[in-house]
């Protein structure tokens, strides 16, 4: 299983992409990834506070064999477990950007 985090938006509008193999994840985050893979069918709405601007937008893709789950959210509606996963991947990806 491979997990890719794409972070876009922000003041700079630059797209950053980081990925990690599931075997490199701590067990708690691996459980989070599997939970996302199996339980979350739809992406959270990309809503943000009225008038807000320059916030981060996330696209998290989890690929397991031929199946891929994609979650899109932003810094305001990202759920806590997902945020922990994103932070870990951004910090520990071997091709860190």
């Amino acid at each position: 299983m491979r997990i890719t985090v794409e972070r876009g938006g922000g003041l700079a509008g630059i797209q950053f992409s980081n990925d990690i193999d599931a075997s490199d994840l701590p067990s708690a985050l691996l459980r989070t990834a599997k939970k996302i893979m199996h339980e979350r069918k739809a992406s959270p709405l990309k809503v943000s506070p009225r008038g807000s601007a320059d916030h981060y937008i996330y696209k998290i893709s989890i690929q397991d064999g031929t199946k891929t789950s994609v979650i899109e959210c932003n810094q305001y509606n990202i759920e806590a477990d997902l945020k922990s996963l994103v932070k870990y991947i951004e910090k520990n990806s071997k091709n860190r950007k």
């Binding site: 700079a12 809503v47 009225r50 008038g51 320059d54 950007k97």
Partner: protein, 363 residues
Amino acid sequence: MFLKNGCNLVHGSSRLSNWTNHACFIIPEYVNRKIVEKGTKKQKEQAWRNLVLTEQLRGRRLVTGLMSSMFSVSNRLDRTIFDAKNSENLPGTLVRREGGKTKGGTTVTEAYDYSGLTYNFFRDVFNRNSIDTRGMKLDSTVHYGEDYNNAFWNGTQMVYGDGDGDIFQRFTKSIDVIGHELSHGVTQYEAALEYEGQAGALNESFSDVFGSLVKQYALKQKTDKADWLIGGGLFTSKVEGIALRSMKDPGTAYNDPTIGKDPQPGHMKDFVNTTNDNGGVHINSGIPNRAFYLTAKELGGYAWEKAGKIWYITLTERLRERSNFQQAANSTYEVAGTLFCKDSREQKAIKNAWHQVGVKVRK
């Protein structure tokens, strides 16, 4: 989640009132007006937001004088700087109030000084009383997050990261970035341009335009002396780039192995259709950015005096939530005609500038 009946959740008791896609008006306008008159400070603020939202969604302009008469309006600069201490909790710990002693280091000083210069710019040049025309307090949080490579406007305040020291330096370093973020607040209270597609790119572009003008005004620079960069000096020396964006030459601000090449187009033929970045709001803003630069260059002198004034009136009196580049071009042309008369040098400059970026003014 957008409710078409326009009548559902109660404002003030629901977080949903803060989200863009929810239009709920169960509280009648006259009740909100009463709350603005008689309520507590917190209730007044919420009722005011409801009224602003109602006005914007109905496509009407705010009757600022009427609203302002309902409760007190501050006529003085009022800045507060908070320190998030590398957490993501807002607003953080208060470190400096208006008129308070300099403390908290360079980052706090920059957030304080540059937000003051932005306030002065809008007051002196456009006779505007802060972000909301009612003397809204300017709250900023610095040291947000860990290695946080961003600055943003969250609808009520500015937030600045320190950068990771690898790609970015601290985001308070650049006066035009602070001007950019505060200008998002101005847009929020005026045209309220949607943060998506061409309207979103216009939203970004107006922030770049006024961010750059704040810097030019502070340095008393004429058009030919300005750098027309947004976020100049934010990159570390490891990055091959001079800024986040160039209004003069979109697409040339950086070209680096790690972060890639600046993707901004400067002409409609290169318009980027994408679902990333809310439909490329930071990408396609290069087109109206260049239109502004070309107008300012043609007119010469101080860019805020003519081009800036035309753009400001367009934002505050002409554009709507879903305006596009064509409407922005037509509106700037109309405003130039009103301010400087029909077929004036200024109006011709506007027409030529938009034509050079691939938008033909239709009037």
